[in-house]
């Protein structure tokens, strides 16, 4: 009997075949078109308005990028939910799982291979967005601020964290469709609500992934304000005070890294120990 091959080699195999699966599906093409439409749509509107109007609204190239990339967060969530939402549920619901989970491969190895394949695919799609942003800012301002690299790093970390959350839902639910829908709802609605609650109560929403993701655009702010407030409704004690928080870049990175670590570990534990009852 031959000896088993190493986990690292099996990780590579799991990664390559998963990547191949992603790149061949209509889902990948659909997500690419989705991101292309958003990025090119934004650019088209700004081109239509003209250079003067655009630069009047956003005096610096950094301001412009902060505005342009404000929609990136939602795009990343949709991409991650579709790439990660069913990555593990497909096995736990039977079908392909009866083929894959009976192979001599650790489930952790399969998870790692699929996760990295999702990261690579998601990054490729996300880079398209940044490519449009770079071309646009170069066209309107004649320069590309170096902070775009920091933003790109934050966006990559956000993608990693969001995929970890999507993988968690994928290992939690046995139904792939339910898993994708749950990922989108929680990431697109749940976390922003958590952040808004913090803003309303005057408590920094450091617990929200959505809050950490603001780092993608706050790195462009020249006069960074961690906390600001605005009182509405007359004298103090009569109206309401609205608070607004922005994470420090390090803080945003820590929030996203914690989500990444915690949800990836939870995904592993669920995927590793869940039984396939059929």
């Amino acid at each position: 009997m031959a000896t088993t091959i190493g986990d690292l080699r099996q990780f590579r195999i799991a990664f390559l075949y998963q990547l191949r699966s992603y790149l061949r599906t209509w889902r990948f093409i659909g997500l690419l078109i989705f991101v292309l439409l958003i990025a090119s749509g934004l650019l088209a509107v700004q081109l239509h308005r003209g250079v003067d109007a655009v630069t009047a609204n956003n005096p610096t190239s950094s301001d412009y990028l902060a505005t342009y990339l404000s929609t990136l967060e939602d795009a990343v969530i949709v991409v991650a939910a579709f790439l990660g939402g069913d990555a593990l549920a497909v096995d736990l619901s039977g079908g392909p799982g009866y083929l894959m989970l009976t192979q001599p491969v650790r489930r952790g190895t399969l998870l790692a291979g699929r996760y990295v394949a999702a990261v690579v695919t998601g990054t490729a799609i996300g880079l398209v967005y940044y490519l449009f942003a770079a071309v646009a800012v170069q066209y309107f301002y004649g320069n590309i601020p170096s902070s775009i690299l920091l933003s790109l790093g934050a966006a990559l970390l956000f993608l990693l964290a969001v995929l970890a959350v999507a993988f968690f839902f994928s290992s939690f639910f046995r139904n792939a469709t339910v898993s994708i829908i749950a990922s989108i709802l929680i990431l697109l609605l749940g976390f922003p609500i958590l952040t808004s609650v913090g803003d309303l109560l005057g408590a920094e929403p450091w617990y929200s992934l959505d809050y950490g993701a603001q780092t993608i655009t706050t790195v462009f702010q020249s006069s960074f304000k961690h906390e600001s407030s605005m009182h509405i409704g007359g004298a103090r004690g009569v109206g309401i005070t609205l608070y607004s928080y922005s994470p420090y870049p390090w803080e945003g990175a820590v929030i996203m890294a914690v989500y990444l670590g915690v949800f990836l570990v939870l995904s592993y534990v669920l995927y590793r120990y869940k039984e396939v009852k059929g």
Partner: protein
């Protein structure tokens, strides 16, 4: 030598006992039929051996490795077909087989040679077609080729011909017979007793999560053997007279001149009974029939016992 061993293997879903205290051990090549009605615990047993389920208590060892605590080691030399596995739809049939082969550490040449061989033997569909576009039977043959590509010594098969058309069944049955001859250890559940009789040397009967009996096909048939004789007389005969013949355990009149007599199946008893029948009335013809594995199965499932 390939081996599988269940020791006091128990699986409960809540309070429902899907498998209770199953114990069996096989450590050489051959085919074992795993027989029982729906819900008996057959698939649960195979899932425990493939790490898809974890036992409530007891152990399921494959080649000496525990499927619950060391699934990678236990499944290394195993090909398994549990429930209805499906290949990933975005991959082609060839890629599916290559992926499984690579996971088992096969070289590209080995994968190519074996893929071509099984394409001929199992009459696989075009290998460069995405599996999403294949029929259920075609997918199942791809899955079976995937199970065999690493040439495992242990095969765990859950109704391997289920869902196949008659021609496909013949292909798989012949393949299993050939694999058995190569000293592979095959544990296969099936509803098709004829199939089990043709392929398997040993049989395990299971019902309500409990193993009722395990032995060779011959021994089980022998243990349940109640051979019958059908005797045709030249004229109507008295059933009472026939029942009084030494060795006859039961008489069933088929017609006034034709009777079915149960006896223990021995050669001496048959000779003696036929001689005695001649004294009741002239015998014009007789025929004998033994119980099949199917009869044994039916008796066991109805709560009967061996002789």
């Amino acid at each position: 030598m390939p081996s599988i061993a269940a020791t006091n293997l128990t699986k409960r879903f809540g309070k429902f006992p899907a498998l209770e205290d199953a114990t069996f051990h096989y450590d050489r090549g051959g085919a074992i039929g795993y027989l029982g009605p729906n819900g008996a615990g057959k698939t649960t047993t195979l899932k425990l051996f493939t790490g898809l389920l974890r036992p409530t208590s007891g152990t399921a060892l494959v080649n000496g490795r525990d499927a619950a605590t060391d699934p990678k080691g236990a499944l290394w030399d195993v090909g398994s077909l549990v429930e209805t596995p499906e290949p990933y739809p975005a991959l082609t049939a060839r890629e599916t087989l290559a992926m499984i082969g690579e996971f088992h550490g096969l070289t590209s040449e080995e994968i190519r040679d074996r893929t071509d061989r099984y394409a001929r033997e199992l009459e696989l569909p075009p290998l460069d077609r995405k599996t999403a576009k294949l029929s259920k039977g075609q997918k199942q043959r791809i899955v079976i080729a995937g199970i065999l590509i690493a040439e495992p010594t242990v095969l765990l098969l859950d109704e391997p011909t289920s869902g196949l058309d008659p021609a496909e069944r013949v292909i798989i049955r012949n393949l299993l017979i050939r694999l058995k001859a190569q000293d592979r250890l095959i544990l296969m559940s099936s509803h098709l007793l004829q199939e089990v009789t043709e392929i398997c040397d040993q049989v395990i009967f299971i019902n309500n999560g409990r193993i009722l009996m395990q032995d060779t096909v011959e021994h089980i048939a022998d243990r349940f053997k109640v051979t019958s004789l059908e005797v045709e007389f030249a004229r109507p005969a008295d059933p009472g007279q026939i029942a009084a013949i030494a060795g006859v355990t039961r008489v069933q009149p088929v017609s006034p001149t034709r009777f079915r007599l149960d006896f223990d199946g021995s050669e001496e008893a048959r000779t003696r009974i036929l001689e005695s029948c001649q004294k009741v009335a002239p015998v014009t013809s007789f025929s004998s029939a033994s119980l099949t594995l199917e009869d044994a199965y039916m008796r066991l499932m109805q709560g009967g016992s061996a002789r």
